[in-house]
Structure formats: structure tokens, C-alpha cells
Symmetry: C2
DNA sequence: TTGTACCGAATGAACGTTCAATTAGAAGAT
DNA sequence: ATCTTCTAATTGAACGTTCATTCGGTACAA
């Protein structure tokens, strides 16, 4: 078995968390491995025990964060509810995940707009594809949405929500739950059939 | 007068354009000054004649690009048209600017999600604020939009459009003008009064 | 003669990564 | 229980490279 990859005392996790936290304030080029090591209370060499390189660390962090996002978004999903109810639940979950995990939001946005995403389009969270993407595919196939190019739906929905969450965080303000429901309504009114 | 900032034979502009182009493929940390100099056919030292540092170069590039965006978005704006017509014109202009200036789109997205934007929130294009922001303020004040928090409108609108444009570029596909009109309709249906 | 534009080799700091050495702990033997 | 052995985990100083920036110098225009 891969005993050497088991991360017995949580140092791997500590490195991932420290990287996430430092990346937000200083960006990728402003976050040296030495600083990650210090923040994670780990020697520089230890990072290379768990990750092949700084690039590999970033890629694994991306999958790590997106896995957590997928779990959060689909939390409490109930197939007996109407599709609209399920949609609102997912959207609210997603929004809350972002504002409760600011570092994750900023990192995900940095990542998708970075050369990493372009150079490694095959890297993604299997969990996210299986759960979240599938949910929207279901909505498209069962015609809950307007008849627009299905490839346009995901970015349209995501863009609005991320923009709102990002705005809230960057402006250090708080929107009420009703404000957010209103935003989700904007999305829903925009894309729903009819 | 600032004769030393006049850029007699276009080297300043060349540096800005080269930076924009290189940043897209390699990101900030992957784009050394030496490479920018080579790409712009300029000596490394020359860059420092026009820009105080690499950071200053990025900041000035941001304003430069956003100025061009502002001009493009408001092109052909006609105050005699209905607000909806003007809105569609702006949105279409913005979308077209993005897909005709991929480097600019990627850079702007990279920038707003980078520590630069957080550390220099005061830096922006005066032209953009005066023209584009004003146009949306007008729409809010005259109640063309739903009664949602006005601070939520801009990110909501922008997010959708940028996401669609970014998606088109990242997937190397082409949406027809009708497809885009449809996206703008999604936005309009979402935010318009009633 | 003075100052601006420009050059590109040189500089020094910072960085990602390596590696020889040390520790920790588990498994096996006595 | 105790000792032995083996391997994974960890350390941090050292290495070689790369990079942003500097600076002494040239060319040219006013």
C-alpha cells in the first residue's frame, strides 16, 4: 500500500491550507515555498515529500478545493423537491460556501484565469463533474431552461453568482439572505423556460 | 512639461502591448521583464525609463486596457434611443470587445482577481467611471431595473457577459450574434423592472 | 553643452529544489 | 520486554538558477 502517501500527522493538509491562505493575499508569484513552509510549520523539504513541485501543489490544491465546493453545493439536495426548489438550494449553498470560504473563492477565480487552467484542462474534481454538472445537465435535458445554447448556461449562471459573492467580499459588506435570493431570482428569471 | 514621458517613437506602447500579450500565456510570475523587453524589441533598461517597476507597469497596463474598454463599450451610444436599446448596444459592444481582444479579457480577469486590485482599489480608468458606470447609474436612478440592491446590479450584469465571453474563448468555439443577443436577453429579463 | 532616449552587461537578492543527515515508528527476532 | 533492522518522515543548509533592477555608457537632438 502507499503508506508513504498517507500523511500520518496532517502535514499534507496543513500545506494545502497554508497555500490557500497565502495565495489569496500575495498571489502565486508572491508566495514562495519558504513562506508556505513557515506558515504550515513544516520544513521546506517536507513539502516536496508530498508534492512533486510548486506547480503540482497548485494543481492538487485546485482539485482539493473543488471537491469541497462540490460537497457543499449539493448538501441537502432532495430529489423529491421540484427542480426549481433544488436549483435554489444549490445556488444558495454555493453562495454561502463562497462567503464562508473567501480564500477558496479567490483561489478558484485566480486559478481559472491563470495559465494553469489552460495548460491542464483535463485536471478537475471528479466529484464536481459527477454531482454538480450532472444536476444542470438534468435541467437542460428536461427542458426546465430557456432554449439557449446549453454550453452558455453554466457560465451564465456561475458568472452571476460568483460576481455577486466576489463583490460582497471585496466591498466588505454583507447582503441579507433575501438579497441573495433576489439575485438567484434574477438568474432564474433569466434562464427559466418561458 | 513631461517631455520624458512623451514616448517619441512608440516604445512605451510596444512595452504595454507586449506585456498584455505575454501575460495571457504565461501569467504574471511567468513573464520576466527580459522577455517583455525582447518581445517589444527594446532593451531591458528601457522599460524602466517609462515604468518605475514591474508592478507599476501592471497597474498602468490595467488603466490603459480599461480605457480602451470604456471607449469600445460606449461606441455609437445614442441618447435618443430607448434605454433598453442603449443597454443592448453597450452589452453587445462589450462582448465584441472581449472576443476581439482576448488578451485584454484575460488580463482584466486576472487583474481583478489578483492582489493588485485589492492593494490598489483606488486605481482605475477615469474614462470608465465617467462613461460606463454613469450609464448604469442612470438606469438605476430612473428605475429601469428591478428593485434590487443597486450595488448588486453591476457585478450581476458583468458576470454573465464575461463568463459567456470567457467561455467562448476558452472552448475555442464561436457563438452567433443571435446567441449573444439571447444571453443579453437573459440578463435583461433577469434585471428589468417587472 | 545639456538632457533625453536608449542600450545591455553586471549585480545582488530571492527563489525552487535537492540532499545528506536525523528522527520516529513499525515489524521481526531473541 | 528488549534489541535490531528497516523504511518513511522530516529537517534545513546549500546549490544553482532566474529575475528585477541598476548603472556606466553611447547616440542624438535641441
Amino acid at each position: 500500500m502507499n503508506v508513504q502517501l498517507e500523511d500520518t500527522c496532517g502535514k499534507r493538509e496543513a500545506v494545502l491550507n497554508s497555500t490557500l491562505s497565502l495565495l489569496r493575499k500575495h498571489g502565486f508569484h508572491g508566495t514562495p515555498m519558504s513562506q508556505i513552509a513557515k506558515h504550515a510549520s513544516v520544513a521546506a523539504g517536507t513539502i516536496y515529500h508530498y508534492f512533486e513541485s510548486k506547480d503540482a501543489l497548485i494543481l492538487e490544491l485546485y482539485v482539493h478545493v473543488k471537491n469541497k465546493l462540490a460537497l457543499a453545493v449539493m448538501a441537502g439536495d432532495d430529489e423529491h423537491q421540484t427542480y426549481k426548489e433544488r436549483f435554489f438550494n444549490c445556488m444558495l449553498n454555493q453562495y454561502n460556501f463562497y462567503i464562508e470560504n473567501e480564500d477558496s473563492l479567490v483561489f478558484l477565480e485566480q486559478y481559472v484565469n491563470s495559465p494553469y487552467a489552460n495548460q491542464h484542462p483535463e485536471i478537475d474534481s471528479q466529484l464536481f463533474v459527477d454531482k454538480v454538472i450532472s444536476f444542470f445537465k438534468y435541467g437542460i435535458e428536461n427542458a426546465y431552461f430557456k432554449n439557449i445554447d446549453s454550453r452558455l448556461l453554466a457560465p451564465t449562471i456561475k458568472g452571476t453568482l460568483v460576481a455577486a459573492a466576489y463583490f460582497q467580499l471585496s466591498q466588505h459588506m454583507v447582503f441579507s439572505k433575501d438579497d441573495i435570493i433576489e439575485v438567484i431570482n434574477v438568474i432564474w428569471d433569466g434562464i427559466k423556460k418561458q
